[in-house]
Amino acid sequence: MIFSKNQKMVDVIHTDFHLLKITDRFGIKLGFGDKTVLSVCLEYGINPDFFVEILNVFHDKNYFPRENLKSFSANTIIDYLEITHRYYLKDKLPEIEGLIGVLVDKCSDENKGHYKLILEFFHDYRHEMKDHIKREDEVVFPYAREIEKAYNNDNVSDSLLKRMREYSIEDYYKEHEDIEEKLFDLKNIIMKYLPEPENSRLCYDVLNELFMLEKDMNDHSRMEDTVMVPKIIDMERSISGNKNAKE
């Protein structure tokens, strides 16, 4: 099912409650009443067309209208990517690490050493994510926003041209693979190789969180790799092309 902006927000959530993650990320609070997606978006100053596309992409793994997504401004896309980053760093990753911490605490002495290994694994992973996201937020995104600005104003500074020559946005995204693989490994280690947990319930909670995080991050990197990056590359090409034509 494909959602539309004229549907009631509450009906959207009834159809797929996982979308609460998206509303939460956009800062939308509960208490929708009978408001439509459109009126909620207007109230919060969110681009409704973009918001609906994000709901749909998140809801249906086969739905990914690449060209339509690319038609939104880089600013809009990056704003979303940035709030997702905050959600990972400030909420999700510390939450999961805390949960694994509880799991370790509740282990018998015999198992504790082994369970501590996954706590350390996740801890390292979280820091790797933090570094990766930091570089995106501080280098990649500002660069992308500047490219869009230069493209829109048809005015490119020499310093930006220099950066365009030195820096390739593509290189950066190769890191995504490693980040995804680590999460994959962690799930397998927990399911296949750790000694039987004394507290299965808690272990399921951890796994559940990891599976959801993995899905979320796959959607996120797909947005970065197949929407944002190609969009910026298109603009870079057009800027260099125009510059050459003028000279």
């Binding site: 050493g113 082994h114 290994l117 996954i118 694994f121 390292d124 490693d178 693989e181 680590k182 994959f184 490994d185 962690l186 397998n188 280690i189 296949k192 190789y193 750790l194 000694p195």
Partner: protein
């Protein structure tokens, strides 16, 4: 895994076939055709284990001609899915016949029988690392590079890479940090060695 082609002009039945067959673990849908105009061309292109075809979409005479041309192909690969009873002649000329009116249980049973006859992939089995793979895993976990491992074991780096691939496939662990955790959990290395 067996591969399947679906040839069905009706949208709703085609979707139904695709979605019901997707539920089978060992069935992979390769191609879906929605037209019958070029049935002869389509049949020539079939490279899957079986092709599911609705006989009511072709006239009887053309179908008989097609079967006559390549009877072995039809008896091995063509599965009919039909709304009307087919004659005994036709039934014996093809691999299997399913009807719209069969129950879910019967269709599942029939498909599973086909899968069992055609499936060449082995049953999943427990993966065990060989002694050599364990040695290599140990060295990976200790943080050695491919070159160092090759030198230490007197093998080529190419061999190290291929062992590494097998280890990853067997364990379902891809990263060095993941392999390290596995190695500790299975006493291939001790915590002390890591420091």
């Amino acid at each position: 895994m067996i591969s399947v082609t679906i040839i069905e002009p009706s949208f709703i039945i085609r979707q139904g076939l695709v979605s019901s067959l997707s539920g089978f673990r060992d069935i992979e849908i390769h191609k879906v055709y929605d037209e019958f105009d070029n049935i002869e061309v389509i049949i020539k292109k079939i490279d899957t284990d079986i092709a599911i075809l609705n006989p009511s979409s072709i006239d009887q005479i053309s179908l008989a001609k097609l079967i006559e041309k390549d009877s072995e192909f039809f008896s091995k690969r063509i599965v009919l899915f039909t709304n009307f009873p087919v004659g005994l002649d036709l039934e014996s000329a093809v691999r299997a016949v399913f009807s719209y009116h069969q129950s879910e249980a019967d269709i599942v049973k029939g498909m599973n029988k086909l899968v069992a006859e055609l499936n060449t992939t082995e049953e999943p089995k427990e993966e065990v690392l060989s002694k050599r793979e364990q040695d290599i895993l140990r060295l990976i976990a200790l943080g050695k590079t491919q070159k160092e491992i090759a030198d230490e074991l007197f093998i080529s780096t190419h061999t190290v890479v291929s062992h590494r691939k097998n280890i990853t496939r067997k364990l379902g662990i891809k990263t060095v940090s993941g392999l390290t955790v596995y190695a500790i959990l299975n006493n291939l290395i001790s915590m002390g060695e890591l420091q």
